[in-house]
């Protein structure tokens, strides 16, 4: 309760409420989203069987660290739970539309880059299946 007859610049209160809004509502959503995105991407990279074990190890470590870091910073009050759920839901819905995640070597950069193959990308799916058959 603040005496409203006092003239305090409204910007200070606005900045405070924006920051609080981000940490209470935006942050849990981001954490939920990044956690699912990370675990699903990890799962798919592992399933492809093309990544070397140190890469898998590093990726798994980073993803679990991000997830735990998020939990430590976000468990403040019960109102954060629905937005965490929304983040998880959004990431799961997005990942359900992804057919595969591959890491082909970039022809110019000569380093592996992440490539997402979406379910609607018939050509990409066909190429991937051919590459997998060729490997077998």
């Amino acid at each position: 309760m603040i005496d409203h007859s006092l003239t305090i610049p409204p910007m200070v209160a606005l900045v405070f409420h924006l920051k609080q809004g981000f940490w209470l509502y935006g942050w849990p959503m981001i954490i939920g989203f990044v956690t699912i995105l990370g675990y699903q991407a990890l799962g798919r990279v592992v399933m492809m069987g093309a990544a070397k074990w140190p890469v898998v190890f590093a990726l798994a470590s980073v993803v679990s660290m991000i997830s735990l870091f998020g939990w430590v910073t976000m468990v403040r009050f019960i109102g954060m739970i629905p937005l965490y759920g929304c983040g998880v839901g959004l990431a799961s819905a997005m990942m359900s539309r992804i057919y595969a995640v591959t890491m082909p070597i970039h022809p110019k950069l000569k380093m592996p880059i992440i490539r997402v193959i979406w379910r609607g990308d018939a050509e990409g799916i066909q190429k991937l299946q051919q590459a997998l058959r060729a490997r077998v």
Binding site: M1, I2, S5, L6, T7, I8, F16
Partner: protein, 169 residues
Amino acid sequence: MKLGLFLLLVSLALEAQGPVPRLAPDLKIVEASGKATMLSAFRGRVVLFAFISTQCAHCQRASTVFEQLSHEFRDHLQVAEVAFDQDADTTVFAKRFGLSFPVGIGTSEVAHDFLGIARGERLGTPQVVVIDRSGVIRAQSERLGSPILQTYDYLRELLKALIKLQVTR
């Protein structure tokens, strides 16, 4: 209908706390050393006062903000705190967080009475109170706490407004 009205009145009564602005009740701040100061002795200066729990992380963080503000407005501001948690060691608390203002020891009942909240009601800490030079409470935390009254930027503007207000009067 009547039941709804009754429940509404009960819930409003439970939420009740002293109105703002209002004249601050007097309070004896007794430090661990035995030194006692009346809150009214600070009249003439803007007072940033808080009821805290020495174990509460928010109170610890807020105390360091108060210390910073006490230096920034050293000519116009008096900061004081009263810890009301059981077995509070205010000497260790003040030393640990480098506090130069008085930190007294009190009881939950004293805090409730000062804040105008019914005894036994749960309080969020810190309970921050800002008192102007004439001894009127101009800002007070909500019963379960007000994070805005623990932030440096907002308190700084609030104190500046109060200091300026007194000068122009």
